[in-house]
C-alpha cells in the first residue's frame, strides 16, 4: 500500500508491506522495520523504527494531521491513492484566499487594513488583545482584503472570522 505525504512543502511517497508478520516501510529511498502501537492514552503512538523509540501524537486537524514529537508540532497532509489522483486532475486551482480568525477570545484593538488593500504573507492585518498581551494577526497568503467582519473594540470569541482576504487573481 502506498500513501502520499506532504510536509513543509515537500512531497514524499510512503510504501507499506508486511514481511514475516512485520511491517516494513519504504520512504525516502530507505527501508525501515517499523513497529507501531497505539498507547492507551489519547491519540498517541509508540513507534519503533529500526529499534529507535518515538512517542508521537497524531491528531486530526483542519485538512491535515497535526503531528507532535518531542515538543515540536508539525503539520502533515496524507493522501490516499484515490485522493492523490483527484488532486492531480484538479490541477493547480488551489489558492482560494483565506479568512483570518481569532485564535482565542479577546478584544480587537486595531484594524491595520482597509477593504481593497493588498497584503503580503506575514503582514499584520489586526491587533487582538488577549491574555494581557497585544497580538498581531498576520495574513498567511498574498491577496486583497475583501471584507472586514469586526469593528475595533469588539469582543470576539475563539474562531470568530475577522478579515477575509481574496487572492489577487480574483480581483483582476
Amino acid at each position: 500500500m502506498k500513501v502520499w505525504v506532504t510536509m513543509a512543502g515537500r512531497d514524499a511517497e510512503v510504501t507499506f508491506r508486511t514481511e514475516g508478520g512485520q511491517l516494513m516501510v519504504e520512504y525516502g529511498g530507505k527501508e525501515f522495520h517499523a513497529d507501531v502501537v497505539k498507547l492507551p492514552d489519547g491519540e498517541v503512538y509508540s513507534l519503533l523504527v529500526n529499534g529507535r523509540s518515538y512517542e508521537v501524537r497524531v491528531a486530526q486537524e483542519q485538512g491535515a494531521l497535526g503531528v507532535t514529537w518531542s515538543g515540536t508540532a508539525m503539520s502533515v497532509e496524507v493522501k490516499h491513492p484515490l485522493e492523490k489522483m483527484l488532486q492531480q486532475v484538479a490541477g493547480a486551482k488551489r489558492h482560494r484566499g483565506e479568512t483570518i480568525m481569532a485564535p482565542m477570545p479577546g478584544a480587537v484593538v486595531t484594524i491595520r487594513v482597509q477593504v481593497g488593500d493588498s497584503v503580503v504573507p506575514g503582514q499584520s492585518v489586526l491587533v487582538l488583545e488577549a491574555m494581557k498581551m497585544q497580538n498581531e494577526l498576520a495574513a498567511q497568503t498574498a491577496g486583497v482584503v475583501r471584507e472586514i467582519l469586526v469593528a475595533e473594540k469588539a469582543a470576539v470569541s475563539a474562531g470568530t472570522p475577522l478579515v477575509k482576504i481574496a487572492p489577487h487573481a480574483e480581483e483582476a
Binding site: G42, V58, V67
Partner: protein
C-alpha cells in the same frame, strides 16, 4: 505579634497559589483559596482546604476586588493573607487595609511597599546605602552644554531618555561627540511631540546588560540574610523566560559585594520578609541597582533548590514575629538550579498567547526535577489571566549537569492542547552561547528566530512516518468496516484490531 497564623488565605491563583497551599498544608495550617467564576475548577481550588468565590472572571472584578477579597477574609476568619506575586502583592493600600482589618499581610510593611514602589525613592535609598546606580543625571538635563558635561563623566555609549517615556519608547543611544547635538535635539523634539513633555535624562548605555537579582530575607530583629543571586537575563520584552542560580557571571568576590549591597539597601528601608533586589550588570560585570520587588518572585524555587529553604515557610515565620529558621547563618548554596517557565504561547508565531483545554499532560520526573504547576489534564486554560502554566525547575551539581538535566526533563514533558514554549526552552538550553553562560537581556534578539524551532530532519521523518502509519491504519479500518465511511469520520477514527496485526 507572635500568634500562630492558623488560617491563611491565599489571595492568588495558578501555580503560585498552589505553591503556597503546599507549605500551608505541610505546616498544618488551614489553606483558604479564593476563586473567580471561571476558576471554580482551577487547581488551587481543588488543592485547598477551603475555597470561596470572589466574583467574575476579569481580575478587577475578582482577584483585584479589594473590598470583596477583604470581606471574604473577614467572614471566613482568616488570620493572615498571602498575596503571592502580582495582584495585591505590592499594593500598599491592600497591605494597609489588611492591618486595619486585623489580618496579617504576609510581606513587608505598607510603608516599605510604598517607599520601594516609587522608583525614585528606591533609587535614593540605594544611593544612601552606598550601592551603585547606573551613572547618569539624577534629574532632567536642560541644555546641550550640560549634556556635554555628563558625556565626559559617563563616557560613550550613553542614552538620552525622555522623562515621560518608557517601555523602550523615547530612548536614543549616542555613541560619539559627533552624534550628540543632533541626537539631543531630536530626542527633545520627539519627546515634546509624543508625550507633551520634553524633559530628557542622560544615562550610561549598557549594550548587553545582564539581569541579576539578590534574594533577601529579613526578620523583625533587623537581621537581613542574602540567599544568593539569580540570573534572569533570558527575557523577551521584559518577561523572564529562564532563570538560574548562581549567576555564571559571578565569582566569589563579586557575589560577596553584591550580597552586601543588597542587604544594605534592605536595611536602609527597614525591610522585613522576603524580597528581591534587582540589579543590572554591565559588560564588565559591574552591578547597578535597579529596584526592589517587595514580594516572592516567580523564580524563587531556584533559590530553594540550592539552599534547601522553603521561602514561604520563612515568610510565615517572619509574619508570626519569629526569627528566621537559620538564625544568623543562611545555608551555603549547593550546586546549580534552573527554572524554565512553561508558558501558553507560540514561539513560532511571535510568542502569541494561547489558551484552551489541556488534552494530555505528562510532567518530567526523576532526580533533581521539581514541577510547580497550576494546571492538570482536562483543565481549560482561561483567557483572563497570565499564561504561565507551570515551572520546570531542575537542580544539578554544576551548571552543566543542571542544563543537561533541564534538556532531559523538557524532553519528558508532554503538554498537548494549548501552544507552549517547551520546544523554545529545548532550543535555548541546547544553544552553545547559553551553554557557555554568555547571557544578556538581548539573547533572544541576537540568537532567536522562529526558524530556530524548525523541525529537525529526524523530526520530519518521524512525522511523515507517524502520519502515514496513522492513515495506513485508518485505511485498514476502512477495509474492515466500510459501513463507517459515510459517518462522522473523526469520531470513528480509531485504531482497529486488524491494524495492530501489522506488528
Amino acid at each position: 505579634m507572635s500568634r500562630r497564623l492558623q488560617r491563611v488565605l491565599v489571595a492568588n491563583r495558578g501555580e503560585i497559589a498552589v505553591r503556597i497551599l503546599r507549605t500551608l498544608r505541610e505546616e498544618g495550617r488551614t489553606s483558604i483559596a479564593i476563586f473567580s467564576e471561571p476558576d471554580r475548577t482551577a487547581l488551587h481550588v481543588l488543592m485547598s482546604d477551603e475555597a470561596y468565590p470572589v466574583g467574575p472572571g476579569p481580575s478587577r472584578e475578582s482577584y483585584l476586588n479589594m473590598d470583596k477579597v477583604l470581606e471574604v477574609a473577614r467572614r471566613v476568619k482568616a488570620d493572615a493573607i498571602h498575596p503571592g506575586y502580582g495582584f495585591f502583592a505590592e499594593n500598599e493600600a491592600f497591605a494597609r487595609a489588611c492591618a486595619e482589618a486585623g489580618i496579617v499581610f504576609i510581606g513587608p510593611t505598607p510603608e516599605t511597599i510604598a517607599a520601594l514602589g516609587d522608583k525614585l525613592m528606591a533609587r535614593e535609598a540605594a544611593v544612601r546605602a552606598g550601592v551603585p546606580i547606573i551613572p547618569g543625571s539624577t534629574g532632567p538635563v536642560n541644555t546641550l552644554d550640560e549634556v556635554k558635561v555628563y558625556s565626559k563623566t559617563i563616557g560613550y555609549p550613553l542614552m538620552l531618555k525622555a522623562a515621560a517615556g518608557g517601555g523602550g519608547k523615547g530612548m536614543r543611544v549616542v555613541r560619539s561627540d559627533a552624534e550628540l547635538e543632533s541626537a539631543w535635539q531630536m530626542t527633545r523634539g520627539e519627546a515634546g511631540a509624543a508625550f507633551g513633555d520634553d524633559r530628557v535624562f542622560v544615562e550610561r548605555y549598557i549594550e548587553r546588560p545582564r539581569h541579576v537579582e539578590a534574594q533577601i530575607l529579613a526578620d523583625h530583629t533587623g537581621r537581613v540574610a542574602f540567599l544568593g543571586e539569580r540570573e534572569c537575563s533570558v527575557q523577551r520584552r521584559h518577561q523572564k523566560l529562564l532563570e538560574e542560580t548562581p549567576s555564571p557571571a559571578f565569582d566569589a568576590k563579586t557575589r560577596k559585594e553584591f550580597g552586601e549591597a543588597a542587604c544594605r539597601v534592605a536595611k536602609e528601608v527597614g525591610y522585613v520578609s522576603a524580597g528581591t533586589v534587582e540589579f543590572i550588570l554591565d559588560e564588565q560585570n559591574r552591578f547597578y541597582f535597579l529596584e526592589v520587588n517587595t514580594r516572592l518572585q516567580v523564580e524563587h524555587p531556584v533559590t530553594e533548590m540550592v539552599t534547601g529553604l522553603d521561602l514561604v515557610s520563612e515568610q510565615l515565620r517572619v509574619a508570626e514575629g519569629r526569627e528566621l529558621s537559620f538564625g544568623d547563618t543562611p545555608p551555603e548554596p549547593r550546586g546549580w538550579a534552573m527554572e524554565a517557565r512553561i508558558i501558553a504561547e507560540d514561539p513560532t508565531r511571535n510568542f502569541m498567547p494561547s489558551a484552551g483545554r489541556v488534552e494530555r499532560l505528562l510532567f518530567a520526573h526523576g532526580p533533581g526535577v521539581r514541577n510547580d504547576a497550576g494546571i492538570y489534564r482536562g483543565y481549560e486554560v482561561p483567557v483572563f489571566y497570565d499564561s504561565l502554566l507551570s515551572k520546570l525547575v531542575v537542580w544539578g551539581s554544576d551548571r552543566d549537569q543542571a542544563r543537561r538535566r533541564m534538556l532531559r526533563a523538557l524532553g519528558e514533558m508532554v503538554l498537548d492542547g494549548p501552544h507552549h514554549n517547551v520546544a523554545f526552552h529545548q532550543w535555548l538550553c541546547a544553544h552553545p552561547e547559553f551553554a557557555a553562560g554568555n547571557l544578556s537581556t538581548r539573547f533572544l534578539e541576537e540568537h532567536f528566530t522562529p526558524q530556530s524551532l524548525a523541525p529537525s530532519e529526524e523530526a520530519m521523518d518521524v512525522a511523515v512516518m507517524a502520519a502515514a502509519m496513522h492513515a495506513h491504519a485508518e485505511s485498514l479500518r476502512v477495509a474492515v468496516a466500510p459501513a463507517v465511511v459515510g459517518g462522522d469520520r473523526r469520531a470513528a477514527w480509531k485504531w482497529s484490531g486488524r491494524a495492530r496485526s501489522g506488528r
